[in-house]
Amino acid sequence: MTDEEFRAEVRGWLAARLASAEFACLAGKGGTGRAHEFVAERMAWERRLGADGWIGLGWPEDDGGRGLPWRRQVIFYEEYARADAPGRVGHIGEQLVAPTLLTFGTPEQKARFLPGIAAGTELWCQGYSEPGAGSDLAGLRTRAALRDGEWHVDGQKIWTSLAHVADWCFLLARTSADAERHRGLSCLLVPVRQPGVEIRPIRQITGTAEFNEVFFDDARTDAGNVAGEPGDGWRVALGMLGVERGVSNLGQLIGFQREFESVLAAARGNGSIADPDIAGRIADAWTGLQVLRFTTEEVLGTAAPDPVAGGAAANVVKLMWTSWHQRLGELAVDVIGPDAMLAGPEYDLSDTQRLFLFSRAETIFGGSNEIQRNIVAERGLGLPRG
């Protein structure tokens, strides 16, 4: 099969499924600032994806994947975005947990967890941040202790998306009481639906709740549910941080392109494109998107370290896309004008408004831009630490 045939297959599958009675309601749902929408339907969609073999495209075939090369995975994400398919609820499992287990997991762990991820039947959330440890992950205070063949977990996580629908949490916890900072952390795999876990949604700037707080009060998981060695969680977690959204960065460019086009259409529609300021910013946004695309392809698409970005290519890309997307949100609102500051009944927001507001979070979550700059300075440029 050629790449183009593969692309046609993806496109055909998406078109057919999104036209079906079951999933027609999902087009464009669950995207930026819409993680709260149509969750049950998107869970069904996830199972459909799994059943038809669209999860784990890049995993080795021996591990239940399809062993597809990087380019094919990008094609899948591109077509997925182009089809306006719904925001994924299984991406943490597929893109964070599975790669971690493929790298650090035991054969038993892989056998236990990969099939559920691949089938879209077991959903995951990620427990890294805590109220006192946002930028400073090494300052985590959630603790886990091994007693009677089980890890007992106590503490609090925050900014945990999808916790309310997840089956499992991929958790970074302190397992060695005397160790400091980034030593003595472990990556635990903890079932979410148990008495010791309580989930509270966090209402956000958009008025809806895309994230949660998760409280662990003597929550339990089997002794074997640790990814990598106990105490080695820092290396495991950080090793996967860059991987987390690597391959999907290219796919998301298609979605950005569509968002840009809707801004352009709005500017044409209300005549604001005749304003030289708006016209100039539209040209800048389009230029910025091309620059983002070229850079993403260049620095994420090649095996060798970039001559400038060095080992911090993913960080460079994150700084670029979050800033670009945020500016697009401001432009989108400025194009529409004062109407963009009116809310619908019960604070129902338009796509533009969600883009405008939610993009403020993108420069914070997943490693704030300040943390990204620290990493670029250190790993990319080799500047000494203070």
């Binding site: 209402r203 700037i205 994230f211 708006i278 004062p338 109407d339 604070y347 405008f356 507001l357 831009n369």
Partner: protein
Amino acid sequence: MDTPEQAALREAVRDFCRKQSGPGAWDRLTGELGLTGLAVPECYGGSGAGLAEVAVAVEETGRVLLPAPYLSTALAGAVLGEDGGEPAGGAAAGFLPGIASGALRAAFVFGDSVQVTDGRLAGVARHVLDGAEAGLFVVRAGEALFAVRAADAVVTPAGTLDETRSQATVEFHGAPCARVGCPAGRAEDLLRVLLAVESAGAAAHCLDVTVGYLKTRVQFGRPIGTFQALRHRCADLAVEVTSARSTAYAAVRAAVSSSTGSPASAVSAAAAELAVLGPLAKRHCADVFWHAAAEMIQLHGGIGFTWEHEAHRYLKRAKTSQLLHGTPAELRRLVSQRAGLS
């Protein structure tokens, strides 16, 4: 620089804003504090102070995004008050006592769509700030300004992203109206001046709160306010916020000097200055406010993005203030034209 009286007023308003909450706030603000009557002549029940004092109150209420139509109502007192230095009947006589007492809330309607025919107004205006609660509209029609009772208009409140300040769509279908002496252009520039002051106050609050957070939030074993990159961004913001406040008050001085109570010799030069500084200050201060609110969220990290934290309200207010009564690009062109830069 505040006069001693202004400093006392500022302290009183700030103290009120710290404690205000609930439905009785408007009554205290207008009754005990008399803020809506600051620019209303004494013969109409106001304190006869002036726009400078209104600006002090607007800066302080802007700082906390006080959810009340104070700015519009106080400005209506000033605008109508310019007609009514001595009891002269007309629009001023009918409305000023209500404004001074707080019984009458006001809002301004600018834009090009309302027209006057045979003493009656017709037309529709959207995005009328503070319009949902108004009992009085001060309306531009052509170059003139008219006062209209809300009872004679059809008012449809609009849902707003910024829930601390209302907007409404206002329709006039042959509404009876009274002519107001203040030229419409001057009134809109005065509104811009007060939006500038409000923005400067709100921007200062964003910076204050952010600096406070940076002093107490500990990451990597020390307050994040010790991290130089964040310190420098706060320093840049301090420069902007300082400049916003200075610029807003320069515009206030032009507004005061061009008002009817000022020496005649100075009025016409000051009026020309106001025509430039109104749009200039509104643009500069709203831009600074926007930047301060955006940095407030970013520097607070995740918590700054929650509904419970106040930061998002400032972001929404800032963008609304940027877009209404002249976008930054429109005001840049207006300044260019009025300052003769083309």
